[in-house]
Structures are given as structure tokens and as C-alpha cells.
Symmetry: C2
Subunit: 237 residues, 2 copies
């Protein structure tokens, strides 16, 4: 049981809750709120300390370094994602609901976009979700390693769709979706690719602000259906 482990908050047990002192949950929650309010760059140990009514460096009693703090907040996210109980729906509807939930949660906490490539998902919420997804795929008829492959494929699709979406919103959303500015930007950067430019401008013109979301949702759905079809084909063979 003892011996060197991989470095992560989750490889050490939380300190037992005592009368003085904070809990991991408290700290995770506060970090999450700060991240939601001010983004990844807005989070600093000193600000977090202030928010908790504590001295800046007190946090280091509970956490080895800033990355571990981010691991805590990251796992909170996984806890917000919902997955219907497997038996209630067909597997396609079940995992679709998961995919949509995951997308929404990520868009609500856009800073995860920069963390997924840096921190492993080893927290209890992430693992619990992984466990439940595996059960869902097994119930659907997948077997052995295919369970994990299917799982990975679905999750990859969602991540890969949402992460660039976040980057896009971060750059374009800041300017309050100024259509003319965007058209000019496109015309400038894509001036050597008339084909691509035409499509970019077209999409930019014909769609109102609120319809942008719908369009993205349609695109998300297209890919999701394709992925599920592909997985289903694997199931039948």
C-alpha cells in the first residue's frame, strides 16, 4: 500500500476533517467559483485565500501545488455531468444524453478546455462516470476491450468538438459577436482559400446570434449520430 505513486491529489487521502481547518470540498468549490468568475488566468492562490478568508499560503496545507488545486476543480466538473440510468432508455439515447450533458457542462466552465490536455482525470467523479459509462456499453452488448474502445471513442468525439468550440468563443465572444468584424477577419485570414472563405462568410451572414448556437448543436448532432452509427456497426459484427 505504501510506496511511490503517481503525482496527483487523488493518490493521497484527504486530511480527516477536524474542527478548525477547511475540507477538500470547500476548497474545490471555492476554486471552481473563482475559475467560473475569472477564468483560468484569473485564478491565483492569493485570490483563493482571500475568498476563503484565509492567508494566501494556508492552501498549501491541503494541496501540494496549484495543479492539484486544478485537479480538484476539474473533478467537480465531472460530477455535474449526468448519465441516465442505463436500463431506462436504449443505449443510444442513454449515451446521447450523456454526450449532450457533457457538452453543456464544458461550455458552462470553459476553462476546462485548457486543462484536459494537462491533467489526468483520476478523481472520484471522473472515475465514477467512467464506471457507469462502461456499464452502459456492456449492457448495450459490447464485450471485452470493445467496451473501453467504444467509451473512448464517444468521449473523444465530445471533447474534440467542444474544446475548439471553447477556443472560438473565447476569441470571438469577447467582441460581442460583431458580425462585420468577423467578416473582415475572415476575408483577411482566408483570402487565399476562396472556397473556404465563401463558406465562412456565408455561415457568418445568414445566422443570427442565437442561431449560432443552434447551428453548432446541429453540427454536434450530426457527428454524434455518425459516431453512434459507427459504434453500432461494430456491435453487429
Amino acid at each position: 500500500m505504501t510506496g511511490k505513486q503517481i503525482s496527483s491529489v487523488w493518490t493521497r487521502d484527504a486530511r480527516p476533517a477536524r474542527t478548525p481547518g477547511r475540507t477538500r470540498e470547500e476548497i474545490a468549490r471555492a476554486t471552481l467559483e473563482l475559475l467560473d468568475a475569472e477564468g483560468l488566468d484569473g485564478l491565483s492562490i492569493r485570490k483563493l485565500g482571500a475568498k476563503l478568508g484565509a492567508g494566501a499560503t494556508s492552501i498549501y496545507w491541503y494541496v501540494e501545488n496549484k495543479d492539484e488545486l486544478l485537479e480538484l476543480a476539474y473533478d467537480e466538473i465531472w460530477g455535474e455531468i449526468t448519465l441516465p440510468i442505463p436500463q431506462s432508455l436504449g443505449w443510444r439515447d442513454t449515451v446521447s444524453a450523456f454526450a449532450y450533458s457533457m457538452r453543456h457542462v464544458m461550455l458552462r466552465h470553459p476553462w476546462v478546455g485548457s486543462l484536459i490536455g494537462r491533467l489526468p482525470a483520476l478523481g472520484p467523479n471522473a472515475l465514477s462516470m467512467s464506471d457507469r459509462l462502461r456499464k452502459t456499453f456492456r449492457l448495450a452488448g459490447f464485450d471485452g476491450m470493445d467496451i473501453d474502445y467504444a467509451n473512448a471513442t464517444l468521449t473523444a468525439y465530445v471533447l474534440g468538438t467542444v474544446i475548439p468550440e471553447i477556443a472560438w468563443s473565447a476569441t470571438m465572444g469577447g467582441e460581442e459577436l460583431d458580425k462585420d468584424a468577423m467578416r473582415e477577419t475572415f476575408e483577411h485570414v482566408a483570402r487565399d482559400f476562396p472556397d473556404l472563405l465563401e463558406r465562412l462568410v456565408e455561415v457568418n451572414e445568414e445566422v443570427t446570434v442565437s442561431e449560432t448556437d443552434t447551428l453548432r448543436a446541429v453540427s454536434f448532432d450530426f457527428g454524434l449520430v455518425a459516431v453512434l452509427d459507427g459504434l453500432e456497426a461494430r456491435l453487429r459484427s
Copy 2:
């Protein structure tokens, strides 16, 4: 042509190359090398200045801020990815080759994992690749918006697979793949999910270091085939 645009290096033209002074390419290349050598946290303006034999703040003549520097390096990455000329192979083989190339390039430059959720891909190399992918999908028989949907789906799958892979390597790879340490870690963090734990340990045990890569490649291929099957189904209807 004038007017406010979206904030990105690519919305401003590069300064014309003069006798003194660096070029964007020079700076992009140096940034890339520094990132490859020292990672995202290892990149600082001062270090980059030193590497270029320039004063630290000279870089700000060519670039508005550090993010724009990262945009330059990010686009270099897109330039390393290869896509066979569409007509030479069937569309499935063509986009498969692209997917594998993209995966390898990303794994070679693991710091991109943290950038994709933060910076838009508006550089010439990224757009050129996007343009060529669109042509490939059109040639395959996709039409209208389906071209872009298919494009997005494929790219999402690759990104979503590789990004967590990078995070994993960053945490586990540092400890030189100590098998026992990993087993202990798993047993600790996944102790409440016996099913998942069994699989984690099993995979960890039965596989040698070099086979880890193979296993990941197999998993990647499984999902890729599923995605392509799903897209092909869309093509037939």
C-alpha cells in the same frame, strides 16, 4: 478593409522583412523549439529573447502579447500534418492518413494539448489544411454543410483522443512508467469501482512499455474506423 477585427496575430499582416529585424517565421520557429524543449511552462519571453540573441522585450515589436506568440507556434504544428493528395487514394484512406499524421504530430508537440482550447486555428497552415480537407470530403461525395460536418467530426475525434492521451503521458510518463507505482495508484483511486479497477490493472500488467503505444494505436484505430463507418453511412443516404 479597415475597422476593428477579431484579436489574433493573423488579423494583422506580418511586417515587411527589412535588413535588420527578425521575421515571423524566425520567431515562430524559435518559439516552437523552446516549447518542444521546455514545454508550455518553460516558455518565457526572456528566454525566447535570449535564444534569438535579442533583448527580452524586442519580441513585442513583432507580436502584441504572449498569446500571439503561441498562435504562431500553434500554426507551425498544422504545417507539419500531412494529407495525401485526394485523388491518389480512396477518401477513407486519405482521411485516415491525415488522422494518423495529426495524431503523431500532436504527440510530438504535447504542449498543443493545452492550447487547442484557448487559441483559434486561424493561421495559414490551419486554414490550408481545412481547405484541403474540405476538398477531400467533397470529392468523397459529401455535399453542402455535410462537408463541414464530416470535417468537424473527423477532426474532433482525433483531437479528443489525443488530448487526454497527452495529459496521461505528462503525469505518468514523468515517472518512467513505473508499473508498480501505477498499479498502486489505480488500486488507490479506483478502490470504489472494482469493475473499472480490474480493467485498469489488467491493462497495466499484461502490457510492456513499447506495447502501450501499440495498444493506444489499436484503440485509436477502432474509433477511427467507427467514425469513418458512421460518415460513410451518411454518404449513402
